[in-house]
Symmetry: C2
Amino acid sequence: MEVITSLQNARVKKWTALHTKKGRDETGLFLVEGEHLIQEALKAGILETLITDSDNPFEFENVIQVTPEIMKKISQNVSAVHLIGVCRQKEQKTGMISRVILLDGVQDPGNLGTMIRTAVSFGFDAVYCSDDTCDLYNDKVIRSTQGALFHIPVIRGSLPGIIEDLRKDDFRIIATTLEHSKTMSEIENTGKLGFVFGNEGKGVRKEIQLDADERLRIEMEGFESLNVAVAAGIVMYHYQRKS
Amino acid sequence: MEVITSLQNARVKKWTALHTKKGRDETGLFLVEGEHLIQEALKAGILETLITDSDNPFEFENVIQVTPEIMKKISQNVSAVHLIGVCRQKEQKTGMISRVILLDGVQDPGNLGTMIRTAVSFGFDAVYCSDDTCDLYNDKVIRSTQGALFHIPVIRGSLPGIIEDLRKDDFRIIATTLEHSKTMSEIENTGKLGFVFGNEGKGVRKEIQLDADERLRIEMEGFESLNVAVAAGIVMYHYQRKS
């Protein structure tokens, strides 16, 4: 097993660079911390290197032993962590798909992670994120996905372009909004469907609402306000592919 | 307008004591920060005192001017806040009710707040929290409710006792769990219903699962794991009172 003891080691610097979006984009790598997420990354076949300052509980060969000081430097957690995995970002290919969600400027990492987790649970095929949606490989996002991140393509880009491409592939685009909208019982669960969820404060951008094939709301009493991850959960539950 | 300039002032000490559960329980008061939540508290008629180190944007008389240093001491936010409201906890009475949720050891303040917000949106009548559910007047809970906290009774206590009382009032208790459970299409939306949601890691306690009148699961593909607030959202959407 390789051992690193110097904080100045080039690999330590490479790993800490993964704290930034730039560092992750340039290398195609990201960090996960803690036994549970590393186990999930291992199962998904994307674990590249395991860094530890104690023991390795996994059947995995590429382990590097470091000092607690180095561990602390690489970790993004406040409390001490003893296992960090360096993972390869999934290749973002999509094959035959018929249920997707599009996120328009979701800001909260917990909401993004929860929506990815829900999308996997309900058999959705992909998650598209607008450029201003929060960074995917943020530690809080990864924790909120509970490992689901490694089981679905998550694609970042400009939503209008993504919507154009989806339409060429016969998708209907359904924007969630309270205005001029239909209820779930009024929009059929057939064909290829792409659901757009918006920013926590502002909702889906006006242009996308207007351009969408349908506008969808969730029926409810009085207090017309749901957390976006809850709203997405209700919609994805309802519009699962019929088996 | 009253002005306080000393950090040693007795009222400043009384307000900072509201950072602890003990302080809130003894006084029946709690703090909210920021214009939006104070507006909601004002609407709900529970604002007692407004503390500010700048201007008062509200039509509200009982305002106390303090120094930025005092503000910083009373605030639970890291960044500077210019408005803090001292609020009265709602009297936790319940009248004729037919849809409630029970939370068994929910730990994440964001999840608790989101579930309260969802319960109000779907016209639920009350939220019962087990003694080991996270503290209601935690700043993160209050923020996640987006003001909904002031529109529903949230009652803390021992769940077995609460369940006994609800049953005397003809409630059926439905525990959410994957084991030995029915789907939503198999459990009718009639009568008085109380849904139990569990701890993020461990789910609903075994005793409560076994004691429940029904066990409910959410149908989904492969990855059988939903965030508890998302699961609660799907169940509350489905079991809204029929109008």
